[in-house]
Symmetry: C3
Subunit: 137 residues, 3 copies
Amino acid sequence: MKAFTQHLTFNTKETIEFVNVTEMIEKIVSESKVKEGLCLVSAMHITASVFINDEEEGLKNDFKKWLEEFAPSGKKYLHNLTGEDNAHAHLKRTIMGREVVLAITAGRLDFGPWEQVFYGEFDGRRPKKVLVKILGE
Amino acid sequence: MKAFTQHLTFNTKETIEFVNVTEMIEKIVSESKVKEGLCLVSAMHITASVFINDEEEGLKNDFKKWLEEFAPSGKKYLHNLTGEDNAHAHLKRTIMGREVVLAITAGRLDFGPWEQVFYGEFDGRRPKKVLVKILGE
Amino acid sequence: MKAFTQHLTFNTKETIEFVNVTEMIEKIVSESKVKEGLCLVSAMHITASVFINDEEEGLKNDFKKWLEEFAPSGKKYLHNLTGEDNAHAHLKRTIMGREVVLAITAGRLDFGPWEQVFYGEFDGRRPKKVLVKILGE
C-alpha cells in the first residue's frame, strides 16, 4: 500500500472565486505512481470548498448568484457579532461541499466526460490550503 | 490490498428520477471479495447524484418538490445561453451530492437500519454512468 | 494494510443539536495505530449528519436558523403522511451531508487550523449511531 500527500496553497484575487484544479490533481496522481486507489481532495479551511462540476463560465456565475440568494453576504448573522464578516461563506461552502473522493484506475483519475475539480473560495484574498491524499497501490 | 472497479450505466425514463441501487452495490461488494475496506460510489455526470436516504415514496417526492423550489427548472440561467437547458440540474445535483463513501466490514456494507443508496438523475433520458471503486483487503 | 472500525452512539437532549466529536475521532485514530490513511466518519441514520465546520456558538445557531428556513419543520410533507414528523430532518441532513472523509498523516488527522468534526442531529432524543472506518498502514 502506498500513501501520498500534498498540500496546495491558494490565494485568490476575488473574495468568491472558483479555480479549476483538475490538472494539478492529475499531476499529483501521476507523481504518486498509484495505479489503483482513492484520492481525497479537501478544503482545509471552513469557508472554502472542493467540488466537481462543469468548466463553463455561465454556469460558474449561475452558481455564485444562486449561493448568494441562499446565503446572502449582507444578512445579519450571529457569527458576525464575533467581529467576523464571513458567516455567509461558511454557509455557501456547506452547500458546495468540503471534499471530493476520486477514483484512480490504471494510474489516472477515473472521470466522466465533463467532470472538472474546482477549488471554491468564498472568503478569499488570503492564503488557504487544500489537501490531496492518495491511498492505493 | 485489493482494488475493484465497476462502471454502471443508467438510462432513466423520467428526466428527474431516483433509482435505488443498494442491491447492485451489495452485489459488487460481494463480487470484490473485499472483507474490510472503503467503497466509493459516484456519479460520473455532473447533472446526477449518488446519495443515501430513505426508500419511502412520499419522501422521494418531497425531495423532488424541494429541489425544484431551490433550483427551478424554468428560471433564467446564464448556462442555458449556451444552448443547454439543464442549469437547474447542475444545482440540484449539488444539493444532493456527487458521491458517497461506504464502509465494508466483514464483507458487507456497514449500514444503519434505513440507509439506502440512490442514483439521482436530474437531466435524464440518456445513458449515464456511475462508478463503483472498492479499496481494501 | 490495516482496517479499524468503531461505532459510536449518540442520544442528544435536543431534537436538533450539534455535538463536537473531534476529540473522539482523534482518539480512535490514535488507537488504530494507522500512520497514513483515510478515515470515514458517517452518520448511520438518515436524519443525522457528520460535517466539518467551526466551533463557534453564534455560527452553530446561524446554521440551525438557516436550515429551518430551507426545510421548515412545520411545513406539510408527503413523508409525514406515513405517521412520521421528520421529513424536514431528512432535508436538513442532506444540506449538511452524511459523511466526511479525513486524511491521516503521520498518525494524526491532517486538519486545517479551524476544522472541527460535528455530529449533526436533526431528529434526536433517541440513540443513533455514527461509523468510523479507518483504512491505511
